[in-house]
């Protein structure tokens, strides 16, 4: 493979578009939509150049001829990169600030709390959560908060880990006071300061895979992605999220997003849409067949699991 990238050959054969859309749907459950040819080419050309391919066609040829899973994940991750910015979902951050964090502080006092940014892309949401926590530090006195951001391995996630953003990134959604408090200018970019960076850990993970390795969280933010998933993938991802949220913990969706008919074990918080609490799991004990009463019916009492899930 040559380091010289052929820009003139960065246009894909039309049949590849459908194949790439199918690949993204199969691997990640995300519908790319029909009119994304330019977006596909721009994002994949960047990846092809970084991976050392001579042209975009050369990379896509190799993808479909050899079926390499690493390259497939890289391609799909690049195609799914979202245009995001700081505090993009304003109402979600309002819910975090006004409902979730005060409630967790009330319940947990001086304990430790874990928050998750699910599908964190280039990290603005996770760092936004850390800035919110920092700004509320007096109100949340004693609460230790860890924040994890997860997404597919991608260039976006690399940017999140670096915590380095362009002049344009930091001017969309971020108040100037937050910029000068939480970032340092480095060359033409802005780099997140350690007091925010040290609160956040990023992990790459397949969002539709088993998520047990992540353990559970007291609140999960999952904003802006749900509408892009196919119906089966939506069920799968929400089922996965249901396992990630602790009992009485919170799921925060993006502006205008909500759970439809299936609730996945979540209840709405008051009349609000877009914020849910995980229902308490009621464990029914196994029935001992020898426990017979005179009327011949087996009886038992539902035993509620101790309300210690948030401990």
């Amino acid at each position: 493979m040559s380091a010289e990238f052929e820009h003139s050959a960065s246009s894909l054969a039309p049949t590849y578009y459908d194949a790439l859309r199918r690949l993204t749907l199969e691997l990640a459950g995300v519908n790319l939509g029909a009119n994304h040819a330019f977006l596909i080419e721009t994002r994949l050309a960047r990846l092809a150049r970084r991976e050392g391919f001579k042209s975009l066609d050369a990379m896509v040829n190799e993808l479909f001829q050899t079926g390499g899973s690493r390259l497939a994940v890289q391609v799909v991750s690049a195609l799914m990169e979202r245009d995001t910015h700081f505090f993009k979902d304003k109402s979600s951050f309002k819910r975090l600030r006004e409902v979730v964090l005060p409630d967790l502080h009330r319940k947990r006092g001086g304990g430790r709390v874990r928050l998750l940014s699910f599908g964190c892309a280039s990290g603005q949401e996770a760092y936004g959560m850390a800035m919110t926590v920092h700004d509320m530090r007096k109100q949340l006195d004693g609460l230790k908060i860890d924040i994890v951001g997860v997404d597919y391995p991608s260039q976006a996630l690399d940017r999140a880990r670096a915590g380095r953003y362009t002049h344009f990134d930091v001017q969309r959604g971020l108040p100037i006071k937050s910029l000068i408090e939480h970032f340092d200018p480095v060359d033409s970019d802005w780099v997140i300061k350690d007091h925010i960076r040290n609160r956040v850990e990023f992990r790459d993970i397949h969002l539709l895979s088993k998520l047990d390795s992540l353990d559970q969280f007291h609140a999960v933010m999952f904003c802006g992605s749900l509408p892009h998933y196919s119906a089966p993938a939506r069920v799968r991802v929400l089922r996965g999220l249901a396992g990630l949220v602790k009992e009485h913990g919170y799921l925060i969706l993006g502006d205008g997003e909500h759970l439809n008919q299936m609730n996945f074990g979540f209840d709405r918080v008051g009349r609000e849409t877009g914020i849910y609490t995980k229902r308490e799991i009621i464990i029914e004990p196994e029935i001992d067949p020898s426990l017979k009463v005179s009327n011949g019916r087996t009886t038992f009492e539902k035993t509620k699991k101790k309300r210690s899930s948030l401990n």
């Binding site: 910015h85 002049h167 001017q171 969309r172 100037i176 006071k177 000068i180």
Partner: protein, 121 residues
């Protein structure tokens, strides 16, 4: 309709910013330096002011300080729009009375975002 005074010695910047602000629903007017802007504010105080830092006659920093001393000068939302990106200078601009701060080059997304943060859109 909300009004915005665009203060910049570059005609091109005034034109580009004016087009973006009109799309955001503002009625715009222009001034070519801080003194010109102060004169215009004395006649008609706008809802918002987008102001450059480095300008001849009176710079944006002195303009904002003097604006805030005028009767009704505390009312307009002031957004700096400048190539100056030193943190110390940004702090000075905020201390002088600026509400938000845009670093050039800018695009329509940045202006919209900053005006939204300042409660203008």
């Amino acid at each position: 309709m909300k009004t915005c005074l665009i203060v910049d010695d570059s005609r091109m910047i005034r034109r580009v910013a004016g087009r973006i602000l009109k799309d955001l629903g503002f009625e715009t007017s222009e001034a070519i330096n801080g003194q010109d802007a102060l004169d215009k504010c004395l006649v008609d105080m706008p809802h918002a002011i987008l102001v450059d830092w480095a300008m001849p006659v009176m710079d944006g920093y002195d303009f904002v300080k003097q604006l805030r001393l005028l009767p009704g000068g505390d009312k307009p939302t002031v957004v700096f729009c400048t190539s100056v990106r030193d943190v110390e200078r940004i702090v000075e601009a905020l201390a002088a009375g600026a509400d938000e701060y845009i670093m050039k080059p800018f695009d329509s997304d940045i202006i919209e975002s900053k005006f939204a943060l300042a409660g203008l859109v």
